[in-house]
Structure formats: structure tokens, C-alpha cells
């Protein structure tokens, strides 16, 4: 993962270009015009955006340096303005770096880096710096202490709005209690109307970055909110920046890459600049490209054996002045080679003629010049293509329905043959071939009263296209393609058409199901947590991973719709909830199946729950530049749904279990009221002694009942399992005299007491009995483990 420190020296990219083109107007004007896009369109939102940019930057800086982030965010009232303070414990920055990082608008944009990073989400901290300067007139105040230095540096930074050049206005040494890190202070016009959004943003950030410790203070808080680091949380794995995948680039990007590359050939370009492209894949791309760029050469079946003489004779006739024997040998070689082919295309005939000519030259003194060769090729090709109708008839007949009568097939075949007569080499693109077929079919429909529907035409096209052969031409050089938009477009189509393995996924750093759960656990006081991480998937050329988490019950708000938290690359998405694919997926799931309340059977479910979805990708598809909502990409929606369902299944079984435990508890509570009353009444009515109903209760409550029976010297401990599942009981009977014949139970003596240990598994509705004998007078104390207390009745 790159941070701003290592981004120095970069600077290529569309964002830079964008800024470049804005040079003509002042940077302030540019900002003013684009502030909706930059997230500064209202004073309330400006503050949220500034916090977001500063916190993203701080987290990135720490992670890059391998430091567990410890971030402090404070908002203070400062006269007419608000002051935002963000501190991190990152590696700190130097005086030279500061202006570029904080001051230069759109510097080193990461929009097009093929890497999972937070930078995709915003325009950068510099926009916040500029906004603060434009609204308050105050400089950005930066304190930095690089690791290992005794003192910290303090800078004040101003952006010259005419030149977009940052300047350091104050530079002095100061002291700072943090051993290392960066602190930035920005004063700006703002208001706290979005207070709850801000708090949610900080909390959501804490959930999705369980490895970070975050503290947040603002004027409305009595004391600062502290979001502690999850115990087991470590730094996210470092991600690799990957080259683009051929399926994931747009034409504009491709053109830029073509211009920028050092490669000379298309094959080299493909292999150098793209991920997952080797020699073979490059060849496939080139073959597809050639099909589009040059077309294919139509290949025909050579004439049948009884017409042999034709090729040979034609070639012999075409070769003049080479001696009868040489000519005959040459013609025979060409003829044989052509007959060895199942189908032969013009360029193959050329190759065959060249081979035969070279053999002939090697054998004798004759030279086969280019004119002779061309004549021979034309003669042979003329013979091969003398009768195309038969060949075409067979091809068409093969792929059309049996109901087509001969005349219709014959009609189409002969009309197609006529089309080919126009072009000597029979070379054409798929589109051109389709044009031939359409015209021939239209004519046939018109004149022969036949029908060639869309499917039939497509089938014929496929058969002919398959029969045609790719041409051996080299594709144009990279430099030429770069200059020609149409050719580049053909290359792009060829890349998309080629099957290429999915991009590698080690460029992604998911949070992991465990830490998603941990994050929820530390920020929400719920009864139940579940999380899931999907395997990596691909949309376009970008790999992505979806993770989901659900918290339920406890202190969560039980009124109203559940809270849906959306994240992209560990950054909370705050605005445009309704436009987000995540929200759409949550709404489309039938939550009643998962025991959540969902009025009307669709929409956001209700109840005390939080649903979170995290999408990590090298290129998260957003609906707009403000990057607040994930676009409805089907592959991604599917994965989001599967991730949520995975977590929801756990929720369902939890809720089911909870319901049945609750029913059991209700039943027990009810019976625990009724039965003693019944016993008391029975005692009263029958005028008998007081009843002990423990045993009955144990049986009624489906409990495990432990009883003791002593008969002379024999002691029997009976475990009766009234439940409908097996009971694994660990029973220890402490006896004050030595027990004998303990029937398999282990006995340990300790200080004059004997511990009889017995661990039976008692099936549902069964009873297990431990029998042993004690000859002396003894006292017994029994302890039972392995059974939940509410399911256990000990009567021994």
C-alpha cells in the first residue's frame, strides 16, 4: 500500500491533467466550481469531508509505516469558525514533503492505481486544506515529529491560489508529546448540523478498522469518545499494486498505456503492461485482434481427387520457361500439398507455393522469381475456388434445418459463391462475412421463396467463420495502434473477447470475518454477532472481496429499521444510502426467512440489528464521482447478497435457538408457578403431608435428574435424562468411606475422602446407574458438571 510519503515523484494521471487544464482560472475558482464534487457543498458536509480526508490520510500513513494507528480527532469552536485537529502516530513528514502532501490540490491522485486503497474514496487532504484557507483565511498548521527525532517541527502552510503552489510560511522547532506522528489543524467555516453523521462516521471507521484506536472530541460531547483497538487486531496485510487486467480497462486508459509503454510489439505490450497475460494469452489476443483488423482468409476444400488434374495442370500452365521436368515436379508438389489440407486459404496457398518453389530452387538451378510464384499462386487458387457452390452447399446444409429444401440451400450457396468472386484473396472480417450472408439470404428469400431467419443466418455465419482461417500478418506496432483510435478499439475488443484468468487477489486486504465480528463486538453492545468473508471475485478486470457482518439484540435500538453500514476499502460510505447497491441488496432479501421482522416482506428489515457490508476492491465501482454509493454491478450485487446471507444464516439459527430457549424458559416459569400451587392445593384437599415435587418437576422440565438410593451397603446413583438430547454428565461423588466395586468409575483418595468420578453419556429418555458398595458408615456429596444449571435437578 502506498502512502503519501511514497507517492512523491509520481504525478502522472488524469487528476493532474485535470488540474493542469484548470490553470487558466484561479485554483479558488476551480474549487468553488467543483466543490459539490469534492464533498464541500455545504458547511455541514464540508466538516464531515474534511474529517474523512484527514482520517483516511492518517490511517494510510500509519499502516504504510507498519504502525498500529492511534488517531485523535478533535473539533473545537474557534470564534466564527470551527477548528479541526487530527493527530496520528504515523512516521511524520519532512519540511520538503509537507507542501506537496497537504498543499497541492489533486496531487498524485490515486484514482487509477490498481490497488485496494482508501484514496479511491476522496480527492485528498489538500482539498480540505484549501477549503479551510478559502473560508477562514488561516493557514494549515502542521506539527510533525519523525520517528527517532527529539524535537518536532511546526509548519504553517498557505496555498497561493493563483499558482496552486503551496508555501511554508512558518517553520520552527517545537516540542510534542507524541514520540512520532503528524498533527494538522484546519480552521474553516463549518457547522455541526451533521453531528450525528460525524459521530457515525467515526464509529463506523472504528468498526471497519478494528486495528486502529480512535479518539474523537467535539464541543457537543461531555468527554471524548474512545474507540479502542480490538484485542487480536493486527495491521492489515500489505497489498500489492497490480497491473491492470485486460478485462478491466477502458479505451482511454488503453490509449494512454499504449502511448506510455516501452514495448514495441503488441505481444510485448500485453505481457508487460497487463496482469495475467503470458505469451499464449498474448497470442490469443493477437489472433482475435487480427480477425478484427485484417479479417480471416476464407478456406476452401481442395477439388476432389478426380479433378486432380485441374490444380496440377493450372500450375503447370502458369509456370513458363522452367523446364518440363522441374515444372511438373513443382506443380505436383503444390497439388499434393494443397490436397493434404482439409481446407485451404489464400495465404496457405501462398505458403505452399513458396515451399515448393524453394524446394525446386534447391534441387536445380532454376530460380522461381516473385512473378512466377504469383502466377502459380493465382493458378492454384483459381483451381481451388473454381467451384465454391458445392463447398458452400455442404456448409450451409450442415447447419440449417432439414426442412429447408434443396433449392433454398442451393440458392444461398450459389449467391454466396458469387459474393466471394469479387475478392481475389477471399479475406474478410466477421462483419463483412455477415454482410455477404445477409445479402445472399435476402436475395434467396426474395427469389426462391425461402426463409432465412436470424438463427439460420447466425448458424451459417458461424460455420463459415469457423471454416475461415486466421491470417499470419503481424499486428501493427504499438506506436501505430496508439495513434489510431479505431485500431486501439479493435485491440480492446480483442482483449475483452479473449478468455483470461481472473486477476490475482493478493492485492486485496479484506478485514477477515473474525475481525469484522471483533469490530462490531467492540462498538455495539449486542447479544449476537456474525460475520462472513467471501472468496475474491472479479468484475471487469478488478478483483473484489465482499464481507458482511450482523449484530443483533442487546442494547441496539429495537424500534425502526435496522442500521445498514456500508464500507468501501475500509472507508465508511456516509451519503446516498438509497442509491447504493448494498442497500438494494439488503432490501431485496426476504428477511422473514431469517427471523427478522420485515413489514410487507421486502425493504429494510426492522429490529435491533446492525448489518454491515464491506467491499474491498482495486476499483470499487461507484455511482458517481462523489463516491458515496456503490453502483449496481450484478457480479458485485451477487457477492454482497451471498455475504449477507452467510451471516444471516447464523443469525437465523441463533434466533431460532433463542426462541426455543425462551419458550422453554416461559414454559418452565409457568410450570414453576402452577405445579407448586397445585401441590399445595392437593395437600390441602387431601389433608395430607406436604409434597416434595422436585422429581416430578425434573421430569416435567425435561431435566436431568440425579438421585441416590442406598440399600444396605449398596449405593446407587441414578442419572435420568428427561431431555430429548444426549446428556454428557461428569459426576463426582465424594464419599467419606472407601467405596468398593465401583463398576468402572475411577476413585481417587484425598485426605480421607474418596472421589468417585463417573462420566456417562445418557441418551434421551434413558437412565444410567452407578452402583458401588460402602461397608462403613459414610456421607456423600455429589457434584455434577456438563449440564446447564437450569436443566439439572440433583436429589442426592
Amino acid at each position: 500500500m502506498t502512502s503519501y510519503q511514497s507517492r512523491l515523484g509520481e504525478g502522472e494521471g488524469i487528476a493532474e491533467e485535470l488540474a493542469e487544464s484548470q490553470r487558466a482560472i484561479s485554483i479558488a475558482e476551480f474549487f468553488e466550481k467543483n466543490k459539490h464534487m469534492l464533498g464541500f457543498d455545504s458547511e455541514a458536509r464540508a466538516l464531515v469531508t474534511a474529517v474523512k480526508e484527514a482520517v483516511d490520510n492518517a490511517l494510510d500513513a500509519c499502516e504504510e509505516a507498519g504502525i498500529l494507528p492511534d488517531i485523535y480527532v478533535e473539533i473545537q469552536e474557534s470564534g466564527d469558525y470551527y477548528k479541526l485537529v487530527v493527530e496520528d502516530n504515523g512516521p511524520g513528514i519532512t519540511k520538503e514533503q509537507a507542501p506537496k502532501i497537504f498543499g497541492k490540490l489533486l496531487y498524485g491522485s490515486r484514482f487509477h492505481a490498481r490497488e485496494q486503497n482508501r484514496g479511491q474514496q476522496g480527492i485528498g487532504i489538500s482539498a480540505a486544506v484549501l477549503y479551510s484557507q478559502l473560508t477562514s483565511g488561516k493557514p494549515a498548521k502542521i506539527t510533525s515529529r519523525p520517528k527517532g527525532q527529539d524535537e518536532a517541527q511546526y509548519f504553517e502552510l498557505i496555498v497561493d491560489t493563483d499558482t496552486n503552489e503551496p508555501e511554508i510560511s512558518v517553520d520552527e522547532t517545537t516540542t510534542w508529546e507524541r514520540p512520532h506522528g503528524t498533527r494538522i489543524e484546519l480552521e474553516m467555516e463549518a457547522n455541526m448540523r451533521a453531528r450525528s453523521t460525524l459521530r457515525d462516521y467515526i464509529q463506523d471507521t472504528a468498526v471497519v478498522n478494528p486495528h486502529a484506536r480512535i479518539e474523537f472530541d467535539e464541543p457537543g460531547l461531555d468527554e471524548s469518545l474512545k474507540f479502542e483497538r480490538a484485542e487480536r487486531a493486527e495491521l492489515p496485510d500489505e497489498t500489492e499494486e497490480i497491473r491492470p487486467h485486460p478485462h478491466g480497462v477502458e479505451l482511454g486508459t488503453l490509449l494512454k498505456m499504449l502511448e506510455a509503454t516501452d514495448s514495441y510489439s503488441v505481444s510485448g505490450f500485453m505481457q508487460e503492461e497487463f496482469t495475467r497475460v503470458g505469451g499464449k494469452t498474448a497470442d490469443s489476443v493477437i489472433a482475435n485482434f487480427n480477425d478484427r483488423h485484417y479479417g480471416r482468409g476464407m478456406a476452401w476444400q481442395p477439388p476432389k481427387v478426380n479433378e486432380d488434374a485441374d490444380i496440377e495442370a493450372a500450375v503447370e500452365d502458369a509456370v513458363a520457361n522452367k523446364g518440363a521436368e522441374t515444372t511438373a515436379t513443382f506443380a505436383a508438389a503444390v497439388c499434393d500439398a494443397i490436397h493434404d489440407c482439409d481446407r485451404v486459404a489464400y495465404h496457405e496457398v501462398e505458403a505452399i507455393v513458396d515451399d515448393a518453389a524453394e524446394d525446386a530452387e534447391a534441387d536445380g538451378d532454376t530460380t522461381f522469381g516473385s512473378t512466377v510464384r504469383e502466377n502459380a499462386v493465382d493458378a492454384a487458387w483459381g483451381a481451388v475456388t473454381a467451384d465454391l457452390t458445392g463447398d458452400l452447399y455442404a456448409l450451409v446444409d450442415d447447419v440449417t434445418t432439414k426442412r429447408k429444401d434443396d433449392a433454398a440451400i442451393e440458392g444461398l450457396a450459389s449467391r454466396l459463391a458469387d459474393k466471394f468472386a469479387d475478392d481475389g484473396r477471399h479475406r474478410l472480417t466477421r462483419d463483412e462475412l455477415r454482410g455477404y450472408i445477409d445479402r445472399a439470404a435476402d436475395m434467396t428469400e426474395e427469389q426462391d421463396d425461402a426463409t432465412y431467419g436470424e438463427t439460420a443466418r447466425e448458424n451459417v455465419l458461424e460455420a463459415l467463420w469457423t471454416a475461415a482461417e486466421g491470417v499470419p500478418e503481424e499486428p501493427p506496432k504499438v506506436a501505430d495502434i496508439a495513434d489510431d483510435r479505431d485500431t486501439a478499439s479493435e485491440l480492446l475488443s480483442a482483449m475483452r473477447e479473449t478468455d483470461i484468468i481472473a486477476p490475482p487477489t493478493d492485492c486485496l486486504s479484506p478485514i477477515s470475518a473474525e475481525l469484522v465480528e471483533e469490530g462490531l463486538r467492540k462498538e455495539f453492545d449486542a447479544d449476537f454477532y456474525a460475520a462472513s468473508t467471501r472468496d475474491a471475485s472479479v468484475h471487469g478486470g478488478d478483483p473484489f472481496i465482499v464481507e458482511a457482518g450482523i449484530a443483533y439484540g442487546g442494547e441496539l435500538e429495537s424500534e425502526g429499521a435496522v442500521d445498514v453500514m456500508r464500507f468501501a476499502n475500509r472507508v465508511p460510505l456516509v451519503y446516498q444510502r438509497g442509491a447504493c447497491a448494498t442497500t438494494d441488496v439488503v432490501k431485496s432479501i426476504r428477511w422473514r426467512n431469517y427471523n427478522l421482522d420485515q413489514p410487507g416482506g421486502s425493504g429494510i428489515p426492522k429490529g435491533p440489528a446492525v448489518i454491515m457490508v464491506h467491499v474491498a476492491s482495486t476499483n470499487v465501482p461507484f455511482t458517481s464521482e462523489s463516491k458515496d454509493a456503490i453502483a449496481n454491478v450484478p457480479e458485485m450485487e451477487d457477492e454482497i447478497e451471498l455475504a449477507i446471507r452467510e451471516a444471516a444464516r447464523e443469525l437465523k439459527s441463533y434466533l431460532n435457538k433463542r426462541r426455543s430457549m425462551q419458550q422453554r424458559r416461559e414454559k418452565q416459569d409457568k410450570l414453576a408457578t402452577i405445579l407448586p400451587e397445585m401441590a399445595e392445593k392437593l395437600t390441602e384437599v387431601t389433608d395430607n403431608d406436604e409434597l416434595h415435587i422436585d422429581d416430578s418437576l425434573a421430569r416435567i422440565m425435561n431435566n436431568v435428574l440425579v438421585e441416590r438410593e442406598i440399600e444396605d451397603d449398596t449405593v446407587r446413583v441414578r442419572i435420568e435424562n428427561n431431555d430429548d438430547t444426549n446428556a454428557d454428565v461428569e459426576l463426582t461423588d465424594i464419599v467419606t468411606a472407601e467405596p468398593q466395586d465401583t463398576n468402572g468409575a475411577t476413585v481417587v483418595e484425598m485426605d480421607g475422602e474418596w472421589f468417585v468420578k463417573w462420566s456417562p453419556t445418557v441418551g434421551a429418555g434413558e437412565t444410567a446407574v452407578l452402583e458401588y458398595s460402602v461397608t462403613d458408615e459414610a456421607e456423600f456429596t455429589v457434584s455434577v458438571d456438563g449440564i446447564e444449571e437450569e436443566k439439572l435437578t440433583v436429589n442426592a
Binding site: 414454559k667 409457568k670 410450570l671 408457578t673 402452577i674 405445579l675 400451587e677 397445585m678 401441590a679 392445593k681 392437593l682 395437600t683 390441602e684 384437599v685 387431601t686 395430607n688 409434597l691 416434595h692 415435587i693 422436585d694 422429581d695 416430578s696 421430569r699 416435567i700
Partner: protein, 368 residues
């Protein structure tokens, strides 16, 4: 107090039997068992014909209420509370109505012991009758509605709270007739000139018969059933038959619900099949209105409703109606798809029923 005291326990016996029932529950608890109460399943599919008594009684199928479930525990709890209440009532020699029991349960300290509906308390009393083998009347529980009325040449003595009264059911009563008490076993028959018992479903028809002096003319004991007859009415009918050796006839409307009224007089009702021996009069004969009468007398009719058809079809499956007579009649009725009321006979004149219909029918049946 009753004429067949050998089957009816006195107050103390009734009380003891209730307490024995409680003692069973007590013993189950004391043995560490789960208290349960087993009673016969009270549905149409679980009644069988008792050849000896010629009545329908409950079969072998039982349902068990166990304290293992909350609802079972609540039922047993209610039973125990009711037993407590009944035994006190018997001890104090007082009585109460079923409705009073329902309201009285409101005063019980435990919410779970209280009855939720009147049906629940009525059913529980019937359950207790079955398991304790003691009749409701002997618990001193009486129904809200009083028994129906008798008119005819019969002299009897009734034990009342105000002492014994001798009453002649024609001479000592008004136009309404003699009111049957809740426990007809407090009646002693002294003398009678009656030749048969005529049970009449509707009040209108009973009044017609009395106005026309049918009881006088034919020495009939006209018993008003008033819809589905109360236990007391059925008990009295049975005693009139058994003790005075009078033939019993039943005269109702010609629809499926009225056949059930005949059924409960004759064969016993499903709900109180445990008391069939005590309440049912198997020898009772059905006068009409028969479906064949509808055809023969061209009576004004209504078409059968869907529920009528269902009821008829369900009667075809009812073991109590599986006789040639009933199968023929019910199938005929389904065929003509018509039903008629008793009063439809008035279409042939007000005296038609007393001068023609009944004498002819009774003659045919060998009663006159």
C-alpha cells in the same frame, strides 16, 4: 332421596370420590411421577353401542392431560381447584350453577386456575363426572336453564327446599304445565293414568296439543323438550319409561337438527355418553316429521341449506343413526332436498295434527 340410590352416591360418597381423585394426583407427585388425568375421547368416532344397555357409550380411546405441558398442567390445576370448591360445597350441603362456578373461579388467588370461558368450566365438570363416576347433580351443580315442562295425567311428589309437594300434572298446574326440577331424582311418582309419553320439540306445537286437549283425550304425558333437551328432561323421560313402563314417542321438526334431538333422547348424546345409561331411553320411538310425511302430506317446506346437507351426511356416518329406518329417511330427505317444521301441519287445519296426524301415526306405531 332418589329411587335408585344404589347407583347414586349420597353427598358424602360424592365428596369422597372427588377427594380420591385429588389423592391420585397427590400420589403421582409423591412418587415423583408427572400428574396426569386420563379421560375418554369425547368425539363421534369414539362412541360404541352397549349391547346390554342398548345405549351408546364412550369407546376405548382416551386422551391424557399431563402436567408436562403448560395447558395440561393448567387443566389439572383447574380440576384440583374445582375439586376443592365442590368438596366444600358438598360439605356445606349447598349447591351452585355452572355459571356460578365460572364466575366464582374469578375469586381464586391463582390466575392460572381461573376459567377463561364458560365452556371450559362446563367441560371440566363433565370431565370430573367421568373420572370420578359421580354425576353433576350429585356434585350439587345445576345448569342455568331449568328443565322443561310436563302436562298429563300424572301425580307425583317433589322434594323442594320448602318441603315435599304433591302435584298432579293436569289438575295442579296452569296452562304451562309442571316444571321439571334440575334433579328429577327428587321426584317420586305416585299415580298415573297415562298411556304413553309424547315428547314435543317446539313450544308452539306443545301449546297446540294442550289447547286441543290432546293429553286429556289420549291420556298422553306431553313433555316439552325445548330444543336439545336438558339432562333433567331426559332423565325424567327415562324414569317415566323405566318406572311407569310407558312407551316414549318423540315428535319433532323434519330436519337434521331435530333428528339429533331424537337421538339424544333415544341413544344418548356424544357429550354425555358417560351418562347414557342414566339418561337415554333406547326404546323411544320417532313420530315425525318424517321426510316421507313431507311427501305424503305435501307439507309446506324450505329447501335444505348447505349446513343441513352436511348435517344429514354426518348423521349417515353417525353410529347412532345407522339403522335401516334412519338411512332410508335421511337418504329420502337428501333426495327431495326439503325440510319441514312441525307447525307446517297447520296447512291442513289447526286440528289436523291432533285429530288426524298423531292418532294415525300412533296407531300405526301400535301405541294407541
Amino acid at each position: 332421596m332418589s329411587t335408585d340410590s344404589d347407583t347414586t352416591p349420597d353427598t358424602e360418597e360424592a365428596r369422597e370420590q372427588l377427594i380420591d381423585l385429588a389423592a391420585d394426583f397427590y400420589d403421582q407427585f409423591a412418587d415423583g411421577e408427572v400428574p396426569t388425568m386420563t379421560i375418554p375421547t369425547r368425539t363421534k368416532s369414539n362412541i360404541v353401542f352397549d349391547e346390554d344397555e342398548q345405549v351408546w357409550v364412550y369407546g376405548d380411546r382416551n386422551s391424557t392431560r399431563s402436567a408436562k405441558t403448560v395447558s395440561g398442567a393448567e387443566k389439572i390445576l383447574k380440576a384440583v381447584y374445582t375439586i376443592d370448591f365442590l368438596s366444600q360445597q358438598l360439605e356445606e350441603d349447598r349447591s351452585s350453577t355452572l355459571r356460578e362456578l365460572y364466575y366464582l373461579s374469578e375469586s381464586w388467588d391463582l390466575d392460572e386456575a381461573q376459567f377463561n370461558t364458560q365452556d371450559e368450566s362446563n367441560n371440566l365438570i363433565e370431565d370430573l363426572e367421568i373420572v370420578s363416576d359421580v354425576k353433576r347433580e350429585d356434585f350439587h351443580m345445576r345448569p342455568e336453564e331449568s328443565g322443561a315442562k310436563v302436562m298429563g295425567p300424572l301425580l307425583l311428589r317433589e322434594q323442594t327446599n320448602r318441603g315435599d309437594r304433591e302435584i298432579h300434572c293436569q289438575d295442579d298446574v296452569g296452562q304451562g304445565g309442571y316444571q321439571i326440577p334440575n334433579n328429577p331424582d327428587t321426584i317420586e311418582f305416585l299415580d298415573n293414568d297415562a298411556k304413553f309419553v309424547l315428547c314435543v320439540e317446539t313450544g308452539g306445537m306443545r301449546d297446540r296439543l294442550v289447547e286441543n286437549g290432546f293429553d286429556d283425550e289420549y291420556d298422553a304425558l306431553v313433555v316439552h323438550l325445548g330444543g336439545q333437551p336438558a339432562r333433567a328432561t331426559r332423565r325424567l323421560i327415562k324414569r317415566l319409561h323405566d318406572e311407569l313402563d310407558l312407551p316414549v314417542t318423540v315428535f319433532t321438526d323434519g330436519d337434521p337438527w331435530s333428528y339429533r334431538i331424537f337421538g339424544s333422547v333415544s341413544y344418548g348424546s356424544i357429550k354425555s355418553a358417560h351418562l347414557s345409561e342414566y339418561l337415554a331411553t333406547p326404546e323411544a320411538q320417532f313420530i315425525g316429521i318424517r321426510p316421507e310425511d313431507i311427501v305424503e302430506y305435501e307439507l309446506p317446506t324450505d329447501p335444505l341449506s348447505d349446513s343441513d346437507v352436511n348435517a344429514l351426511e354426518s348423521e349417515l356416518e353417525d353410529p347412532r343413526f345407522q339403522t335401516d329406518f334412519w338411512e332410508e329417511q335421511i337418504e329420502l330427505q337428501l333426495d327431495i332436498n326439503k325440510k319441514a317444521e312441525q307447525q307446517a301441519l297447520a296447512s291442513r287445519g289447526l286440528d289436523f295434527v291432533t285429530e288426524t296426524y298423531l292418532p294415525e301415526r300412533l296407531d300405526e306405531m301400535g301405541i294407541l
